[in-house]
């Protein structure tokens, strides 16, 4: 089975531009989460979506937005890019159902560099 896939793998943008990152979850997974990981730090939670609804939001500005599609894939959008947005953006999916504690499975991320 394919794991979580993210595109593009690398991206270079300039300050002020916007960017769209894409994520396809593992087949059958209905929950998708986005994380930002800057160099030397652990991933930081940005958003979680489940059944196309936002279920959680981390401490990120409104320039960050996301959505989940009927096929459970997801997009992360970032507007008015700043130098500090340079990071590895990770998507994770999980099989959510009942009281199960299903772990999240990560893609290998999109490396975003802002010039």
């Amino acid at each position: 089975d394919a794991g979580v896939t993210q595109s593009p793998t690398h991206l270079i943008k300039t300050r002020g531009q916007h960017v769209t990152l894409r994520c396809s979850p593992i087949s059958g997974h209905k929950s998708v989460s986005w994380y930002q990981q800057v160099l030397g730090q652990g991933p930081q939670f940005i958003f979680q979506y489940y059944e196309k609804e936002e279920r959680g939001r981390g401490n990120f500005p409104d320039r960050f937005s996301a959505r989940q599609f009927p096929n459970y894939s997801s997009e992360l959008n970032v507007n008015a890019l700043l130098l500090g947005d340079s990071a590895l953006y990770l998507c994770a999916s999980s099989l959510v159902g009942g009281d199960s504690n299903q772990p999240q499975h990560f893609g290998d991320g999109t490396r975003l560099s802002i010039l």
Binding site: G40, G97, Q104
Partner: protein
């Protein structure tokens, strides 16, 4: 979400068993304990998850004492390819976001 504390770094020789201990004094009754491994420029990879006592899979064992205020990830006979950052997290089931700390940087030496 419960906060975790783990060593910043550890060194080990190839072939040795490595034990990484994580403290989580404020773990909630419903929280599970999950460990991830991350290589540079890759996403975290799920290693093992447990609730109490001992869990073992093909790559690691997880020991959890009765009070659940700590846990130990055990990697048997490490190799150079086990050099990575290891994260301990509590809570974070499929419905809740994961809260990562800085992890433990394990360096395996030949």
């Amino acid at each position: 979400l419960a906060k975790t504390t783990q060593p910043i770094s550890m060194d080990s020789y190839e072939g040795q068993e490595v034990n990484i201990t994580c403290s989580h004094n404020n773990i909630a009754t419903n929280d599970y304990i999950t460990w991830y491994q991350q290589f540079p420029s890759q996403g975290p990879r799920f290693i093992i998850q447990g609730y109490k006592t001992k869990v073992t899979n093909e790559v690691a064992s997880l020991f959890i004492p009765a009070d659940r205020k700590s846990s130990t990830l055990s990697l048997p006979r490490v190799s150079l390819s086990d050099t990575a950052v290891y994260y301990c997290l509590v809570g974070g089931s499929g419905n809740t976001p994961l809260v990562f700390g800085k992890g433990t940087r394990l360096s395996v030496i030949a």
